[in-house]
């Protein structure tokens, strides 16, 4: 039995705040003139933010020596998946009203939708194998290899956003830049720099 973790409880509530904001705005008319579009943007944004937060865990643990944060990674990843599910549900139900002919045409004919759909589908097995039992069943090595798919999913998420934008590429490029930094921080060079940065070794 683990001891209660106040940090985890706080982070859990923090991750629910965007949902609270959405529900509040939906009830009070704060989603504006086109609520379906607003829901799509906001759930998409929070999916990307939480994916990036998940990917920030390992660099922060290694480079900054924040060991406590490693325990929060699973929850961050599952919240990213949760907001991705809301994003997809909003698209399927409120945007397309489950008109499958339109949905299939969208996914097959429009690369930015294809990319988003593939990114989402990649997250499904990761969420499904997020339990301790699944980790034991798969074995650490295979589990780790499978969960590397998160890099691809995050990249596809950024591409999905980039492709959608009409003129101002700044927000998707900002996500892309953060993703690039988080990936670069994993390279051996970054690890070699660790002592130079003066961070505790974390071991």
């Amino acid at each position: 039995m683990r001891s209660p973790d106040p940090g985890k409880a706080a982070l859990f509530l923090l991750c629910l705040l965007p949902l609270g904001g959405l529900l509040w705005d939906a009830a009070s008319g704060g989603l504006g003139a086109n609520p379906v579009e607003a829901l799509s943007r906001r759930t998409g944004d929070w999916t990307l933010r939480l994916l990036l937060a998940t990917l920030a865990v390992t660099p922060l643990r290694r480079l900054a020596g924040w060991r406590w944060i490693a325990r929060q990674r699973r929850m961050l990843g599952l919240f990213a998946f949760f907001y991705a599910c809301l994003h997809v549900a909003n698209y399927l139900v409120l945007d397309q009203w489950l008109e499958w002919a339109e949905i299939v045409a969208d996914v097959l004919e429009r690369p930015w939708v294809t990319v988003g759909a593939v990114g989402f589908l990649l997250l499904v097995p990761l969420a499904a194998t997020s339990t301790d039992a699944a980790l034991r069943r798969l074995g650490g090595r295979r589990w780790k290899r499978l969960h590397r798919a998160v890099y691809l999913a995050a990249g596809l998420g950024v591409l999905h956003y980039l492709w959608l934008v009409k003129a101002d590429l700044t927000p998707p490029l900002a996500y892309g830049a953060v993703l690039a930094v988080l990936l670069l921080a994993r390279l051996p060079l970054a690890a070699a720099l660790r002592p130079a940065l003066g961070a505790p070794s974390g071991r």
Partner: protein
């Protein structure tokens, strides 16, 4: 501020108008930011008096009009038009304005005038969105002359019976209801009669996505989304998009014999 409306009902749809709050709070006007709520928040910095419009080029009597002179000179009409954005949403807007044809007639176009080119004010001081080169400022649009003199083509100076709010393109803007919204250029300072098809802003930015003609056409998809349906602001379900935004009877003859897939 109320406007004196002389004529009502000509070419007007009887569909329910979109709420004033949505018409004035959900805008694409990149001169004031790329988010739909930015223009309502930021367009206060636009000064609409004094304001002049140059009408020049291939015409007998080129000249500069003061906005107040235009308001006195042309009887104002209310026209309740559908507006279909290229992003697949739509509104119904009770515009107040006068036919573009009346303004063009005043300068007596010559036979050289085959197209009309329009320009928005370019002043990053007043239009903060122009401080970044998101588009090739100033915003430019154009029509073929027969489109421009079509009685549906309107210069709007108001909506809902009142002076046009800045975020909707004050003090005067174009409204071409059978074309996607981006053709209906806002806050116009220059109108030029020209012999050749003029360059237009969104076409320059993404030629395969935004054509010069930009007639509403459910059969020609945007590369990134279908144009077959649209969401009327205020409604949740989508409705079918109509050819020429429902104005086919009035305007389809302008394009007789043209391949509208090529000239999208």
């Amino acid at each position: 501020e109320r406007l004196e409306v002389a004529v009502r009902g000509r070419f007007s749809t009887d569909e329910a108008p979109t709420s004033y709050a949505s018409v004035t709070g959900y805008n694409n006007f990149y001169e004031f930011g790329v988010n739909k709520r930015d223009p309502a928040r930021l367009a206060g910095s636009l000064r609409t008096r004094p304001w002049t419009v140059v009408v020049e080029g291939a015409c007998e009597r080129p000249r500069t009009f003061d906005i107040d002179e235009l308001l006195r000179r042309f009887p104002l009409e209310e026209r309740v038009y559908r507006l279909r954005c290229v992003e697949a949403w739509s509104m119904v807007i009770p515009w107040v304005g006068f036919p573009l044809a009346a303004l063009l007639k005043a300068v007596q176009p010559t036979s050289e005038a085959r197209y009309v080119a329009f320009e928005t004010l370019h002043d990053p001081e007043q239009m903060p969105g122009q401080r970044r080169r998101i588009l090739d400022w100033p915003y430019r649009e154009g029509l073929r002359i027969d489109e421009a003199v079509h009685p549906l083509a309107l210069i709007a100076v108001g909506l809902y019976g009142e002076v046009l709010p800045n975020q909707n393109g004050a003090p005067l803007r174009l409204v071409v209801p059978w074309k996607y919204g981006f053709k209906s250029i806002k806050s116009i300072v220059r109108i030029r009669l020209v012999p050749e098809q003029p360059p237009t802003t969104w076409h320059m930015a993404a030629p395969d996505e935004y054509g010069f003609y930009a007639n509403v056409n459910p059969d020609v998809p945007h590369p990134r989304w279908s144009q077959r349906r649209e969401r009327r602001i205020g409604e949740l379900r989508k409705r079918p998009t109509l050819p020429f935004n429902g104005y086919a009877e009035e305007v389809a003859h302008l394009y007789a014999g043209m391949d509208l897939r090529r000239f999208y």
